[in-house]
């Protein structure tokens, strides 16, 4: 049955594209985890915050407009200008760097040396905080984000596959762009980590805080750098997901999508995040298509990734590419 096969291939390809986006979010986690040992639950909310800020700047919204109106009884909402996309992206990046500084200065500086699980819970608190601030600043209604990325069905692939299978694949242009950007981003990050001075310092910090300090690496600077990088990844992820499905609260839930990716790929590995993302993207789409929808009542995508990761971890606790967990007393 070639038609069934064609469907399956299409689902496979779409899963691959979704997987790239998961990997993109997971990458932000890996960066922070490697450099500071913090498992940053707030990564998804950072993506939401970045996307909200970007839309807000582009539309010329007044920050905290609702709050100002409520307190002062005024009626401000827009400055009345529109900022071009590339400038707005730059400004948003500045905001994310400031945010990275604040997070480091007011939260994690005081939590150095705490157990990882305490740090994890602190990032959950941070996620709530940032979600509230983001909503207060820019309002919580669903916004559309348009930075000029191509959208809609890719005609070329549709026609080519129609020639091959007699059935045109539906693959969104946006997904293709996202995949290309993700690949560029990953390459860039790997090059940065391997071949620049800051990248080397970052790896040194990840390896051993004390040793890094003793050879003159500034921990504070590196952590701010790492959080800024994570903010940058969050911004890219926010743009991609925001363009795909609108900027809204559910954007922050992509963090929950990225968690099983991390567990599968290993928390410490950049290639792991990519491979894990692809496996989960493809796996959940194929499972939904072949088993979930016909036999289990659908919507299995919510939990499939977690179950897969859970079962996988029982056999290999450090994930696919993670460093072997060695326990000492």
């Amino acid at each position: 049955m070639p038609e069934q096969l064609a469907f399956t291939i299409e689902v496979f390809l779409n899963g691959l594209m979704a997987g790239v986006l998961y990997a993109l979010v997971a990458l932000g986690f890996v960066l922070i985890y490697k450099a500071s040992g913090i498992f940053n639950y707030a990564q998804g909310v950072m993506a939401l915050f970045a996307a909200l800020t970007l839309v807000g700047i582009m539309e010329g919204q007044v920050p905290f407009a609702h709050l100002i109106n409520a307190i002062l009884g005024t009626d401000v909402h827009h400055f009345g200008w529109h900022v071009p996309a590339f400038l707005a992206i730059g400004l948003t990046m500045v905001v994310m760097i400031v945010l990275a500084y604040l997070v480091q200065r007011f939260v994690f500086r005081y939590l150095v040396g705490q157990e990882p699980i305490i740090l994890f819970m602190a990032t959950i608190g941070l996620a709530y905080f940032m979600e509230g601030v983001g909503d207060l600043m820019w309002g919580s209604e669903i916004k559309t984000l348009d930075v000029g990325l191509p959208q809609g069905i890719n005609i070329a692939i549709d026609e080519t596959t129609y020639g091959w299978f007699g059935y045109g694949f539906f693959i969104d242009n946006l997904d293709i762009v996202a995949a290309i950007i993700a690949i560029l981003l990953v390459t860039g990050l790997v090059l940065f980590a391997q071949y620049t001075k800051q990248g080397r310092a970052m790896r040194a910090v990840a390896d051993d805080h004390q040793a890094a300090l003793s050879v003159g690496v500034s921990l504070n600077f590196i952590w701010i750098l790492v959080w800024s990088l994570a903010g940058f990844v969050a911004l890219v992820a926010g743009i991609m997901w925001g363009a795909k499905s609108g900027v809204q609260f559910s954007l922050s839930l992509i963090a929950l999508k990225a968690l099983p990716v991390l567990m599968l790929g290993g928390f410490t590995s950049i290639p792991g995040a990519i491979v894990g993302g692809l496996i989960i993207g493809v796996g959940e789409k194929l499972f939904e298509f072949l088993i979930g929808a016909p036999f289990l009542g659908g919507a299995t995508e919510n939990w499939f990734a977690y179950m897969l990761a859970l079962i996988f971890l029982v056999f290999r606790p450090q994930g696919l590419f993670g460093e072997k967990i060695i326990e000492r007393v």
Binding site: F39, H66, L67, A70, I71, V107, Y110, L111, Q114, P116, I117, I118, F120, M121, A122, I124, G125, L126, A127, Y128, F129, M130, E131, G132, V133, D135, L136, S140, L256, L259, P260, L262, M263, L296, G297, G298, A299, T300, N302, W303, Y306, M307, A309, L310, L313, V314, P317, E327, V329
Partner: protein, 358 residues
Amino acid sequence: MFYREAGDFNTSYPEDSQTFPIKFDRWRYYAVLFVAIFVIPFLINDYWVNSIFLPFLIYSIAAIGLNILVGYCGQVSLGTGGFMAVGAYACYKLMTSFPDLSMVVHVLLAGGITAGVGVLFGLPSLRIKGFYLAVATLAAQFFLVWLFNRVPWFYNYSASGQISAPERTFLGVNITGSNTDAWATYLFCLFFVILSAYIARNLTRGSVGRKWMAIRDMDIAAEIIGVNPLRAKLTAFAVSSFFVGISGALFFSVYLGAVEVGEAFGITKSFLVLFMIIIGGLGSIFGSFAGAAFLVLLPVALKIIGVDWLGWPTDIVAHLQLVVVGALIIIFLIAEPHGLAQLWRVAKEKLRLWPFPH
């Protein structure tokens, strides 16, 4: 001045090892019980019960349950919402399948079923540790919610996909359904709270609790001195889920009456209960109550201040609430990782010496 232990002599081991060895503490405890059982039921109305007392009591049970797992045994779980859903749906199935049995039996059985499910999802904890486990428990959260959403047997094939509690009585008084009295539901929940706190308190200071704490502090060392990690972790999961299941059953049957699973037992519920025990104090039964009270009262207080006094729109207050809760979590983790319970302990120490500190 207020808090004296001078002249308070224990002359036997049982006296020395009782839960409240200091007389003042003991009398305060009896006084609280007396007020809770004999005074409050006569004073409350529907508003008080539904907005403060029932959520406080029910979340206290959930917080005690989660505290056993996270605070005493050190296994962080983000699946509380899912386990509460198990309790709720087990209770619903039992209520509709065996209408003649007492509600108390239903709730306890629902807890038991949840304990079984908890053990099942606790099995990976033997291999996975720390936040790997925390993330793994999210599997329970998503899978269970999906299961109750998609398998019609669980909601008795009702058209809306909701479950709603049929009318049940206990000792001839309506407990569930639409015609309930404020005092009846309050006392019914209070019974389970006292039961849970009593069991939890005594488990955690007995040998089981010591094993949990040994596992929490360093699992390899605990294993070397002869604590069986399999048994310790799985009993923690079982006991914890038992309480969480009870709270889920009460949450559905007594408090809400009708439940849509994704809405009532979503991941936000898991975080809410986790926040309760962080703010209240990890590894403390009193902390579970304090945290539950704090996070139940906070939205009410914010709403009164923001909406009623200042006249702000409700959505701003809702967002502000997120900010406040998030900030509080961070502040507590930085300033007082042992939460309100530790503040209480410090206050007691201060009061012991009060007018004449050294």
